[in-house]
């Protein structure tokens, strides 16, 4: 008995001889020289949902939950989708998780490359000291880099299926927040949200920070509170979300990343009042 189901119901090799693959292209073991076009990932498989971020007076706060879904299945529940790059840049990933892991490896090698010439021990010579003081790659630099990677891949018809938020401090140590997606589209705003968050969280965040001027007045505490409230709203309404999440605050003092936060003060009291699609009152 052949235990491979794909062979069931097919001509048996011992009776009919092995399968004549000559008409297949060489890439599939055949003899034909005309090959099929290279095919690539055309849809995301394991996915992360929204990423949210908000600028405040001295830095940026960013959050994403810890879930990686396989279609509608909540497959992995401890996937950390915020990746700190250095002490003034963090990247938040939405979309395909394997592409996120590829980009994370890419960023690690970039970081190694950037720091390769820096001495590990004490700076002895003037040259060494110059290297220690060499400017750290800013969040803005990182965003430019990632945007070009994303745009190159879409141009090659081999997209990285992600929506990224890059946040941190720019070269003048001012708060920086910008996005890049699988098409290479980039933009920047006082508050940003990917995926479902663009529909549910962005209106709430824009109420807190309608423009750049408002972010100058916004305290770190208020910003973190707003983001946490949005994570809660997303958990209530986004079916591909969960109640454990990561949140990072990036300011002058560096990156403060917490990867196992839990949603607090949930109240489902609103639920029994919902009729129809929520706007119905009778």
């Amino acid at each position: 008995m052949n235990h491979f189901p794909e062979a069931w119901g097919r001509p048996r090799d011992d009776i009919y001889g092995s399968y004549n693959a000559s008409y297949l292209p060489q890439s599939r073991g055949g003899l034909q020289s005309h090959h099929q076009p290279t095919t690539h990932t055309q849809q995301p498989i394991v996915t992360g949902t929204s990423v949210l971020a908000l600028k405040f007076s001295t830095g940026v706060v960013i959050a994403a939950d810890n879930l990686a879904s396989y279609g509608s299945l909540a497959r992995f529940t401890d996937v950390h989708r915020l990746k700190p790059f250095n002490k003034r840049a963090v990247v938040g990933f939405g979309g395909d998780v394997s592409d996120m892991q590829y980009l994370d490896r890419l960023l690690n090698s970039l970081d190694v490359e950037e720091n390769y010439t820096s001495p590990t021990g004490d700076a002895k010579s003037d040259d060494d000291r110059a290297l220690v003081d060499a400017p750290l790659m800013s969040a803005k630099n990182l965003h430019t880099y990632l945007a070009k990677v994303m745009y190159k891949r879409r141009t090659d018809f081999n997209p990285l299926w992600n929506a990224l938020l890059v946040c941190g401090l720019d070269e003048k140590d001012q708060p920086f927040l910008a996005s890049a997606d699988l098409l290479g589209t980039t933009f920047s705003a006082p508050s940003m949200a990917t995926g479902f968050g663009a529909h549910l969280a962005q209106p709430l965040l824009r109420r807190v920070a309608p423009d750049e001027a408002a972010t100058q007045e916004l305290s770190k505490e208020k910003a973190v509170e707003a983001i946490k409230e949005c994570m809660k709203v997303l958990f209530y309404r986004d079916a591909r979300s969960m109640n454990e999440y990561s949140v990072a605050v990036i300011d002058q003092s560096g990156v403060e990343l917490k990867e196992d936060e839990k949603l607090e003060n949930q109240s489902w009291a609103f639920a029994d009042r919902i009729k129809g699609y929520g706007t119905q009152t009778v």
């Binding site: 297949l24 690539h40 997209p159 929506a163 996005s179 990917t194 995926g195 962005q202």
Partner: protein, 265 residues
């Protein structure tokens, strides 16, 4: 971003499925690519040239579908000049359509203009830059930059120069041009107010005696007001236009930039 929501339950994931058993081969033809590499980020741009100046304008809203990505995403770029802010530039490019292609196009033209200065030791003329932009666009004839570009500057005689493009590089020097989502709303208004189309001299009599008004280069204040009127009108009737109006005025003194808020609804 909308494409992230078009995901369906994966059918060719790990694990066996009879549906994906290799029962058919190359006879079914090559697999079709589901990935569409373009999107439309909305917005509109507008350029008008005068006797001694050129004005380029664009709204600052960036959209994807019904979502507003950002209320400040400029569509106007200084080309050439020095430093990260391109100071001292004398040429302005506006791009509307697919923003990622717009950025890539801007960077290529900017690099090319700077290379020209290194190689020739002088600034590029607007008409040379305009022709080069056409070549850059046509170079991607079979995978185009999905943008409508307008290039503005001053020509060798110091007159306002304005060039408009289609996505594959066909171009023309014009007095005025609207592009983007609300171009169909703005362009006929400009025909009427800038080129004085369908306007006759009231003193010229009736019937066959009528004489058409002759368009002349407009003064700068008039043009600025026309641009504002065109955009406030477009904001009322097009959802992808709004938030802010960015204008760049190119004169012999250089490029002057202004920003006026528009309705955010």
């Amino acid at each position: 971003m909308a494409s992230l929501f078009q995901q369906s339950m994966p059918s060719t994931g790990p694990g066996y499925s009879f549906a994906s058993a290799p029962t058919h081969h190359s006879s079914s033809g090559p697999r079709q690519h589901a990935f569409y590499p373009y999107t439309d980020n909305g917005g509109s741009t507008l350029g008008i040239s005068g006797a001694t100046f050129t004005i380029l304008a664009g709204d600052t809203r960036s959209t994807s579908g019904y979502n507003i990505n950002s209320r400040y995403a400029p569509k106007l770029f200084r080309i050439g000049g020095d430093g990260p802010e391109n100071e001292g530039a004398r040429i302005v490019l506006s791009v509307v359509g697919f923003a990622a292609d717009g950025n890539a196009l801007k960077e290529r033209l900017d690099t090319m203009v700077k290379m020209y200065r290194y190689q020739h030791g002088k600034e590029i003329s607007v008409h040379a830059c305009a022709q080069r932009l056409s070549h850059i666009l046509y170079g991607k004839r079979f995978f185009p930059y999905y943008v409508t570009a307008i290039l503005g500057g001053l020509d060798d005689e110091g007159k306002g120069a304005l060039y408009s493009y289609d996505p594959v590089g066909s171009y023309e020097r014009e007095q005025c041009r609207a592009a983007g989502a609300a171009s169909s709303l703005i362009m006929p208004f400009l025909d009427n107010q800038v080129n004085l189309k369908n306007q006759y001299d009231p003193a010229s009599g009736e019937g066959l005696e009528k004489v058409m008004r002759v368009p002349e280069p407009l003064p700068q204040e008039t043009v600025e007001q026309l641009v504002r009127d065109a955009f406030t009108s477009a904001v009322e009737r097009h959802i992808e236009v709004g938030d802010g109006l960015q204008m760049m005025i190119i004169t012999k003194e250089g490029v002057q930039e202004t920003f006026t808020p528009l309705k955010k609804d």
